[in-house]
């Protein structure tokens, strides 16, 4: 239990956490844990989330007003590093927190105070609902609409969302809806309860065989007036604010995974010189990702506002993720296809194929880097 969380540095905190992870018997069920499926993993790891919260470890890096113990985002990054070093899977909910909590703290303080403590502790899960069947990369064209309810204070939301991570296991979802004119100006960010009439959540089985995300069908779902995040029409700006957190934190989490998985994969099969260079390249890219996202986390900790350069973080994730999992598959040889015991590595491999697609495709990111970072001309 952290009594006085005054660690002089994230590194000192990380070392203390490592001590806890390697000595406390309550951590044992999570060391080297390989979920049977996504749902079992989510349930098991929510117990880990609760343990880390109750012992104080996961509260460092979040403000006290939302259940944290203060300290900046580098402490959260140090926690992710320590977890991966001990071969402990990062609960999916932690990734969601990295993206949603900063948004609520800035744009909906009243919701942050009321709801975040139970979210941080893992008592409930939240999802994100942005993409739609006809609005993927072109998010500003989304059509799910919110209209005033007859009660004069609330809203009714109707439409269809898709690729909602954690959707079928979540109690609430942050959601982007159209409250006004077409285009990005007419969008509003809200927090919607999913356990109500007019909401139908259906899991989508992904290429790896797991229910990573869901479709959400909305037919007049009710949104109380105080569940608007920010103001009406501010949704696009909030989504952009959210992205800077998504890139840095997610990239940092992923580099930890890649380092760990390279080491785990080498425990199986026989290393061949034919695969050495490819492995070296994957490691070099993963190192570049680590150092790039460390910089981004440091900038977020210093409360700098990040610009379009965070697209470079996403592009490095793509390069490192594909290179790492290609190297792992080639290292494993036929065991990749035939060894049942390696189902978890196989599953993570298949999930890696989404790297150039999720969170803004590689093409969109490259266009952003070319036009907004390097100043190349837009199409005229």
């Amino acid at each position: 239990m952290i009594e006085h969380p005054n660690y002089p540095s994230p590194t000192a905190y990380g070392e203390a956490l490592s001590g806890f992870l390697s000595s406390d018997p309550r951590v044992t069920p999570y060391l080297g844990y390989r979920p049977h499926d996504f749902e079992e993993g989510a349930g098991h790891l929510s117990n880990l989330q609760r343990l880390l919260f109750d012992e104080g470890w996961s509260r460092l890096g979040w403000p006290t007003r939302c259940g944290g113990l203060d300290g900046d985002p580098r402490f959260r990054a140090a926690m992710f590093d320590a977890l991966w070093l001990h071969d402990i899977l990062i609960p999916e909910a932690f990734t969601t927190l990295e993206i949603l909590v900063p948004v609520l703290l800035v744009y909906a303080p009243h919701l942050a105070d009321a709801l975040l403590p139970s979210l941080l502790r893992g008592d409930e899960g939240w999802a994100q609902a942005f993409s739609e069947p006809d609005a993927g990369s072109d998010l500003a064209s989304l059509r799910t609409r919110m209209e005033p309810d007859s009660d004069g204070v609330g809203w009714r939301i109707t439409g269809q969302k898709v690729w909602s991570t954690y959707g079928h296991l979540a109690r609430r979802s942050v959601l982007l809806a159209r409250s006004g004119e077409p285009g990005h100006r007419g969008l509003t960010m809200v927090l919607l309860d999913l356990d109500q009439p007019g909401v139908d959540v259906r899991p989508i089985r992904a290429e790896d065989g797991e229910n990573h995300f869901s479709e959400i069908f909305l037919d007049g779902a009710y949104l109380p007036g105080d569940r608007v995040i920010g103001t009406l029409g501010q949704g696009w700006a909030i989504a952009m604010y959210m992205l800077q957190w998504e890139r840095g934190a997610w990239g940092w989490i992923q580099q930890g995974r890649f380092h760990n998985r390279i080491e785990r994969a080498l425990e199986h099969g026989v290393a061949s010189p034919a695969n050495a260079a490819e492995l070296g390249r994957a490691y070099a890219l993963t190192t570049a990702l680590r150092l790039r996202t460390r910089d981004t986390v440091n900038r977020l900790a210093a409360e700098e506002t990040l610009g379009p350069e965070v697209s470079i973080d996403k592009l490095l994730i793509v390069d490192a993720e594909l290179a790492t999992w290609d190297a792992i598959r080639h290292h494993l040889g036929a065991a990749f296809e035939l060894d049942d015991a390696l189902h978890w590595l196989r599953g993570e491999f298949f999930f890696s194929r989404a790297a150039p697609i999720y969170g803004g495709s590689q093409e969109i990111q490259r266009t952003l880097v070319a036009q907004r970072v390097l100043g190349m001309p837009r199409e005229s």
């Binding site: 001990h86 380092h259 260079a277 490819e278 492995l279 460390r294 490095l316 490259r366 970072v373 390097l374």
Partner: protein, 350 residues
């Protein structure tokens, strides 16, 4: 569990403004007055004070700009000679000229000790300053490593006399390496050997690798910047070719690797760690080569002409990439080490 490379992060002493001033001074030093020795020009800049303040930032800037400007100076050899002199506790080595193996690879030695003589076969990265002695990494037989210090005046004069400029690929790259082939009597040299000499060489190689990586990043940034500028001016089908996503994506992809490599170089500059230097050079070499590939495609036919400056950068990338290990051999070395140890060390702490 000690799987993380690096101690707590030292922030650079030079802030952004000072660094910018340094960069513009270095650009002048490296592009003007090339008839005066680089050491003299740097001394006028107060280089020793800058290095004493913040050696990593100073050296990183020097080598990046050396690449950006295709400078004809050779800052690497004196740096490595100084490093060897420090490690070996032999101050008089600091002004020696370094004869790299002809492979340019630090573990593939081409000079050797043979009975009573030293067969020197290697490369000087630039003309040896008058009066300098020679430092030669040598194979002492059955794989034993040594560093020979050739100090006899006549032997050096013979070697320098016989040194021949290399032109094949390097003409116009800004660099002027010389091939050295000579035989020196063992009595004309001192040979440092044993683990001490090996360690000194590894330290020098690490320094040479990360500074070379900085040079590759500098070339890559310059090549991409000029390609972006060209793509904004050149029109086809009534629009700037830079507005075509096909080109934007090529350049953005290469820019991503250059930025990533630069982060690794930043880290390598602040560690005295051969592993980090190795990774930095592998990342920078691959990134710089991709930058050239994408820039060349952007230029189209004009970039293929002798008159266009592009090929000078391409030649420079090939030379600097080869120097102390090209990216393909380094990736193999990194991967082999990870296979052998089962460890993928985390480079850099929060």
């Amino acid at each position: 569990m000690n799987d993380t490379v690096g101690d707590s992060v030292n922030d650079s002493v030079l802030d952004a403004e000072l660094l910018e001033m340094l960069r513009s001074s270095l650009t002048k030093v490296l592009t003007e007055g090339s008839s005066v020795a680089l050491a003299v020009r740097l001394a006028e800049l107060g280089w020793d004070d800058v290095v004493a303040n913040d050696a990593p930032s100073a050296l990183q800037a020097l080598f990046e700009i050396s690449g950006e400007t295709l400078s004809g100076a050779d800052p690497l050899s004196p740096l490595l000679a100084r490093s060897l002199a420090d490690s070996l506790g032999a101050p008089d080595l600091a002004s020696a000229a370094l004869v790299l193996p002809a492979t340019l690879h630090p573990q593939q030695l081409t000079s050797s000790v043979d009975g009573t003589s030293i067969v020197v076969s290697g490369v000087l990265l630039g003309p040896a300053p008058a009066g300098s002695t020679l430092l030669v990494p040598v194979d002492r037989g059955d794989g034993a490593f040594g560093v020979a210090h050739v100090h006899a005046f006549d032997a050096i004069a013979t070697a320098i006399e016989a040194a021949s400029p290399v032109e094949a690929v390097l003409h116009e790259s800004g660099q002027h390496p010389l091939r050295v082939e000579t035989t020196v009597a063992l009595s004309d040299a001192a040979v440092f050997d044993g683990p001490h000499a090996q360690a000194a060489w590894e330290t020098a190689v690490a320094l040479g690798r990360w500074t070379s990586a900085a040079e590759l990043v500098g070339i890559g940034m310059r090549v991409l910047a000029t390609a972006v500028a060209y793509a904004g001016e050149r029109t086809q089908y009534g629009r700037a070719i830079g507005s075509f996503q096909a080109l934007q994506h090529r350049i953005a992809g290469a820019h991503t690797l250059i930025v990533g490599a630069r982060h690794v170089v930043d880290e390598a500059a602040r560690r005295n760690d051969p592993w980090v230097a190795l990774v930095a050079k592998a990342a920078a070499g691959r990134a710089a080569e991709l930058a050239c590939t994408q820039a060349q495609q952007t230029y189209g036919a004009i970039g293929f002409t002798w008159e266009h400056e592009f090929h000078r950068y391409l030649r420079r990338v090939y030379l600097v990439d080869r120097r102390l290990g090209d990216w393909r051999s380094l990736e193999f070395e990194i991967g082999s080490r990870i296979q052998a140890t089962g460890r993928a060390p985390r480079i850099g702490v929060l």
